[in-house]
């Protein structure tokens, strides 16, 4: 097993986190951009997309830290990360948790497009090179499928939490406070 194989595995790992976002983003935007569905909630869901992308970045960080555990020395990091630029690019997705960037969802789309580019380039190589290994495209598609599921699940979770908090908030305001209840404790 040489370093190129490890580098390939790390590329697949990064793709598993981020490559599906572009597809999910464009499809959700296309569906919720429909006039009939347009409303406060749909706008809110669209606005959750970059935040969910940032949260996936946190999951990616956790995954990398777990791989490094228990040795977080520079030598170990240098030895473990065969695709340092790709990992740094992936970790940059944290930035979409910042208000400056999550209000500009197009940047998250562009960030994710790099990972989708790997899928497209492998597919192109497969189509143009007769002797290309079909297993590469098979791996890409499995990873893309997993990534799509992850990128659907995270915004769904955020939306459910948002609706849940909203519901509690609304109902809390309708419950009359008992007089003198605060003095009991």
């Amino acid at each position: 097993m040489d370093n190129s194989f490890l580098a390939y595995i790390q590329k697949l790992e990064a793709m598993a986190f981020f490559s599906g976002y572009a597809l999910v983003y464009t499809v959700i935007l296309s569906i919720l951009g429909n006039r009939r569905l347009k409303g406060k909630l749909s706008d809110r869901i669209v606005s959750f997309l970059p935040i969910s992308y940032g949260l996936i970045g946190i999951l990616f960080l956790g995954f990398q830290l777990r791989k490094l555990y228990p040795d977080y020395s520079f030598e170990h990091i240098h030895f473990t990360f065969q695709q340092p630029f790709l990992i740094i690019w992936g970790l940059l997705s944290f930035a979409f948790l910042a208000p400056v960037l999550y209000k500009r969802p197009l940047f998250s789309l562009l960030h994710s497009c790099l990972f989708f580019y790997f899928v497209a380039s492998d597919l192109f190589k497969q189509a143009t090179t007769p002797l290309a290994d079909t297993n590469i495209v098979k791996n890409d598609m499995r990873v893309l499928a997993a990534s799509v599921i992850l990128n659907i699940a995270v915004p769904c979770l955020i939306t459910i939490l948002f609706l849940g908090f909203n519901y509690i908030k609304k109902h809390k305001s309708l419950i009359p406070k008992k007089q003198g209840s605060s003095t009991l404790f």
């Binding site: 572009a22 951009g33 789309l109 989708f116 597919l123 497969q126």
Partner: protein, 260 residues
Amino acid sequence: MKPFNKILMIALLLISGVGLVVSCTHKNDPLPASVSTAIKISHGKHIHLAGITLGDTTQWKFDKVHSAVNWSSPFLEVGADLTGKFNQFGVADLKDALMQNYNTTKQPVPDTSWAFYENEPAKTHFAGYIQTNQVNTGEPGRDGGCLITTFGTTKIVAGTQNLTVANVAHIKTTSVVFDPLSNGYIATFDFTWQGGGSAPVTQSISGKLTYVPETLVPGATYSDFGLKLEFQINKADFGVNNTEVADKVNIVVNANFNNK
């Protein structure tokens, strides 16, 4: 923004779709039917007819030198098999007139009482005999001694082929049919042997007949084919009541024929 998003979505879906088709593993396709483990029964169209004219390749001659009649039975009815063979035998229908002593060391009667039709077993027939005093278990004291008494016959006379009633066991087919469970045949025949009794006993017995197809002998100009007959007799039915071997005796006849 809107047209850009739509175009990008279509492009991404298209790429993903193509990728999905290319990477299809066809795991959901029904598996091809498993290989049948049943015995494949197929019968060719070989026809072999007997003859004695040397050089005539349409006539098939019994190759006695390369054939054998073997028997086996558990020693003392409980042990491992005791085995033996008969040194003199032939493929001839022994009619009463032929059952006599012959002053020859060669085959006393022509080995022509047979015909084999691979695909028409009803036409297949054969008859054959063994000389019981020619039993060979590899122990001269036994072969020329107690077995002669057991078989109710007389010792070998040098230069004589003894085909008398007391010294032969012979068979003659009554029917040959395809074996439904194998590529072979079921042969039913009359087995006649005097054994330890005072007169010959005839019993109808069935055995398995296997055909070893005709093949050109490597490096030669003639062909060879084989017939193997396996059956079982109960020696007690023929008046042989010793306990040296079990009553059930297995007999295997390996007969080779060529068209030299």
